[in-house]
């Protein structure tokens, strides 16, 4: 006898054999009580199932596996060829590549404000300082643990490089350095470039660079 028919017709099962030892054969009342108990237990088990179904509903969350698509088994979809994702047209080539034609731009595509520089410092400390170090010497913690050291920002070549270069490197990668375009937003990469300029200036500032009115104040703090 299959399991299915057992559940459908418990009476016939009970009559034929009584292996449970609880005396099903003798009492119709007990039989009904047991049947009811089994039903309740089944309901309870089903309720537990409900809980699971509610916890894990058939919706896709970011990066979850999914068997709906056979090509990558993921809920996230790759970009369809020959299409542009919304908000990624990137028409402004100066802003997105830091180049005019093949020449790196010499100025930031937006005005530098205090907010831009502070944003740049924050992003630099998160994404760049592990290798480049907080001061741009190229001696960050990852370098101390064996990563090939990057050049210091304070060498002549980088101090005179156009700012577009400081944007282009994190955008497309450079040497052993991977691209950070997927991790750091475009505007933030520009802010980082601006902040690197600040780091460079900080090593080569002269008293003449300070507005005349504030020079006395600077000497005081020294």
């Amino acid at each position: 006898m299959s399991r299915k028919s057992e559940i459908r017709n418990p009476k016939s099962e009970v009559r034929s054999t009584d292996i449970s030892g609880f005396g099903f054969r003798h009492s119709g009342f007990r039989r009904r009580a047991t049947y009811r108990l089994v039903c309740y237990l089944a309901l309870l088990a089903a309720a537990a199932g409900c809980r699971r179904d509610m916890f894990h509903q058939p919706i896709s969350k970011p990066l979850e596996t999914s068997d709906f698509f056979q090509d990558n088994h993921m809920a996230s979809r790759p970009l369809v060829p020959q299409t542009v994702a919304r908000g990624h047209l990137n028409e402004d080539s100066v802003f997105y590549t830091g180049m005019i034609g093949t020449n790196l731009v010499e100025t930031l595509p937006f005005p530098i404000t205090r907010e831009v520089l502070e944003r740049g410092r924050e992003r630099f400390d998160i994404y760049c300082s592990p290798c480049h170090g907080r001061t741009g010497e190229g001696n960050g913690m990852i370098v101390q643990r064996g990563f090939p050291p990057p050049p210091s920002y304070h060498i002549e070549r980088l101090r005179t490089a156009p700012v577009g270069h400081l944007f282009d490197v994190p955008t497309r990668g450079y040497g052993v350095m991977y691209s950070y375009a997927q991790r750091v937003e475009t505007a933030d990469r520009w802010a980082i470039a601006a902040y690197i300029r600040v780091l460079q200036k900080s090593r080569n500032a002269k008293l003449a660079n300070v507005p005349e009115g504030q020079r006395a104040q600077l000497e005081e703090t020294n």
Binding site: T65, P130, R145, G146, V176, Y178
Partner: protein
């Protein structure tokens, strides 16, 4: 005719009545304890992963910021699990032969993602957004615990609704200043409640919003 029940039967009967009465509570108490225990919630249980990634090493040892890998935590509901490229940014040159990183190298070679096991899994009937919490003064370690001390990552809290409400009912108890959100060293100052009240104003959390935080529909949308 001899007595069927001996004298002790009185005591046994009483004990059975009282025991039965308290037994019911004890039973449900026990069920509740099991329900709240790490056995059911997975709290404090380190999760096995394909690659035994150590937050302790990367955060406490190397000083990486949370956002170096969890890039979308400030602007999206989802904090983001880093793609293999992020791991390989360093591991293309550091620990290149380590056997424990083999799945990473395979993943890069085959362009197939590494399968990470979720540690904090909220039920699907709960709406949760990382960015709003981060923007309004809730630090990572408030919910995720001292991640910098986890060799393998575990769940720091039960994620019971009671636990969520604990903060939603009085956020001033947990709010931090903006520059401390991603800090793993932040500890509650002695005058946290006063500071929290000030921070509520600084983060522009209105009275109306504070009341809404307790609404069912805030999280069950």
């Amino acid at each position: 005719m001899a007595q069927i029940f001996g004298k002790s039967s009185n005591s046994i009967a009483r004990a059975t009545l009282v025991g039965g009465f308290f037994g019911v509570f004890a039973f449900f108490g026990l069920v509740y304890l099991v329900y709240c225990s790490p056995y059911t919630t997975d709290q404090y249980v380190p999760r096995e992963q394909e690659v035994p990634f150590s937050h302790q090493h990367h955060v406490a040892g190397l000083g990486l910021d949370c956002r170096y890998c969890h890039t979308s935590v400030e602007k999206s509901s989802f904090a983001g699990i880093p793609p293999t490229e992020t791991c390989m940014t360093c591991h293309s040159k550091v620990w290149t032969d380590a056997p424990m990183l083999a799945p990473e190298r395979q993943s890069l070679a085959r362009s197939q993602p590494v399968h990470w096991t979720r540690v904090n899994d909220l039920p699907d009937f709960v709406f949760f957004n990382h960015s709003i919490h981060v923007q309004k003064g809730i630090g990572c370690s408030t919910c995720h615990g001292q991640v910098n001390e986890m060799p393998l990552t575990w769940k720091a809290h039960s994620l019971f609704m009671r636990w969520c409400l604990d903060c939603h009912e009085a956020p001033q108890r947990y709010l931090r200043p903006k520059d401390q959100i991603f800090s793993m060293d932040w500890t509650e100052p002695p005058d946290q409640l006063q500071r929290g009240e000030t921070l509520i104003k600084e983060y522009h959390i209105s009275k109306q919003r504070l009341e809404q935080l307790r609404d069912c529909s805030m999280c069950h949308r």
